[in-house]
Amino acid sequence: MTDDVLLRARGLTKSFGDFTAVDGIDVQVLRGEAFGFLGPNGAGKSSTMKMVGCVSPVSGGELRILGMDPAADGAAIRARLGVCPQQDMLDEDLSVEENLWVYGRFFGLSRKEVRARTDELLDFAQLTERRHDRVEPLSGGMKRRLTIARALVNDPEVLLLDEPTTGLDPQARHVLWDRLYRLKREGVTLIITTHYMDEAEQLCDRLVVMDHGRIVAEGSPRELIDTYSTREVVELRFPVDEQERHVDAARAVAERVEELPDRLLAYTADGDETLARLHERGVRPLSSLVRRSTLEDVFLHLTGRSLVD
């Protein structure tokens, strides 16, 4: 049903002068999905999100959001979006609740509607106790939750989240993920960018892997791992200078081997067996670790680089 395609991009391009930040991407997001853009810094994720958020004109290709064209119907589209930009963009001189009040008015909600919604949103963002406080001294995690609460003030059909947990400590990340699960359960369509593979695996039903403005792979986290990696990975650390000597041995017992500066990654269906066969060949790493493949491994395989540098 075309009705349920909330976002459709074909050959979508963004250039800044001679530089192409987004290089002809094709994307389709369905209602109710949690869809992700996974890629390292500079991949073009924010540039894409700004075009989707109708605050950055499209340089080329086609973009339809909620069936509308951002160039013609930007305001009507924005009325139905929630945007949590990479930077919080709160008014730090105002109190927590004032930030919600003024924002609701931008969408044409009446004072009464906004105030009624504020209680709920503060509760959702776990900021009820801080509602009268100025925003400036709040922690990074609180500001992030307030930004998300503010993005929900107009009850959006689609919530755009640009790197929702970058810069947060692990506990604040988990609190935030939990909030996003709840939204997803409520049927809000989520479009998320991230350079954390664990975030993509946790939150996204489907995602595209982006690099240098292009999409290099697409699928569910499971599908991507099945297609581009093995079930398990053996991480092998050797004394400096010795790693080089063991590459061939690792290649002989694994499907594929990636060399990183500080370790070898041996891709295999059964990590313990691979490790045992390495031992038989007299290879004695300083340490070894068998783990399951992640999206990080997918990215490494597709681009030869790691996500976070």
Binding site: D93, Y103, R105, F124, N154, D178, E186
Partner: protein, 284 residues
């Protein structure tokens, strides 16, 4: 991979009260402008205590030192200026000058802050607001500020006998227009500058000379001949002249039309430039 932490029992579910999918009620331009103004009024309400000195006390200092202190000397030695006691000459000029100073104060760091520090303008543009509404909603609040500050100053100065006529009430709209002739182009500048270094140049090399050489404290024809055209092409002198005419209840005739025309031109050209630099900076 760790699962998300289990939330405590008091934690709310995702907000309900859904507006539901589908088109939203279209808003009118007036509604959207009002929403932007509401935001800025909340900010002023939070910060007015800090600015009360600038708005109220500093014009009072000018009034006491220039109007009364210097005035006594000028009146005794020269018998006033242009046939007026110095107090009545200088205070309407200070009214216009204060509007300029407030306009610069409200249109520099604040605008740059909304663009690149807290990025509130960008947050606004992620809603149905258009760039013109974000710009004019803020400008209208600056205008409102100018009106309120001028009215307060008139109330403070009137008991000293600083004004010759009830027509001085017209000095309020004159001061607002004078202030906006500075504010609107300064919005354009603030959106164009990459950093705030330019502002100290603006204050030192534009605002201060204009304060001194725009006929506020002494007539422009006392200046060297080559400086007089500078007064004519910058807004403050026109505002000072109109303000002084209003204060004395003098009908300025065609000269008044000229003064108004210059001020309106600054607002108009400034508005086009500000719209352009806002768009370039915020919607690239």
């Amino acid at each position: 991979m760790s699962a998300p932490t289990v939330p405590g029992p008091a934690v709310a579910d995702a907000p309900s009260g859904r507006l539901g999918p589908g088109p939203r009620r279209p808003t009118s331009r007036g509604e959207r402008l009002g929403a932007v103004m509401a935001h800025h009024l909340y900010v002023y309400r939070r910060t007015w205590k800090g600015s009360v000195i600038g708005r109220f006390v500093s014009p009072l200092f000018f009034l006491l030192s220039m109007g009364l202190g210097l005035g006594a000397l000028v009146d005794a030695r020269a018998g006033g200026v242009e046939g007026l006691p110095y107090l009545r000459y200088v205070v309407p000029g200070i009214v216009a000058m204060q509007a300029m100073m407030l306009a610069f104060g409200d249109s520099t760091y604040a605008v740059m802050g909304y663009i690149k520090w807290n990025r509130m303008y960008s947050a606004m543009l992620s809603t149905p607001l258009r760039v013109g509404e974000v710009l004019w909603g803020h400008l209208l609040v600056v205008a409102l500020q100018l009106g309120v500050a001028t009215a307060i100053f008139l109330l403070v100065a009137a008991p000293f006998g600083a004004f010759g006529s009830w027509w001085v009430l017209l000095a309020v709209p004159v001061a607002v227009l004078t202030g906006m002739a500075f504010s609107v182009p300064t919005f354009a500048l603030a959106a164009w500058l990459e950093n705030d270094n330019g502002f100290s140049i603006l204050f030192r090399f534009v605002m201060t000379p204009l304060m001194l050489f725009s006929g506020t404290f002494f007539p422009v024809d006392q200046l060297p001949g080559w400086m007089q055209p500078l007064a004519w092409v910058t807004p403050l002198w026109h505002g000072v002249e109109l303000s002084r005419d209003a204060s004395e209840g003098v009908w300025p005739g065609w000269a008044g039309v000229g003064h108004l025309g210059v001020l309106v031109l600054y607002v108009g050209v400034g508005a086009v430039l500000a719209h352009r630099s806002f768009t370039r900076r915020l919607l690239s």
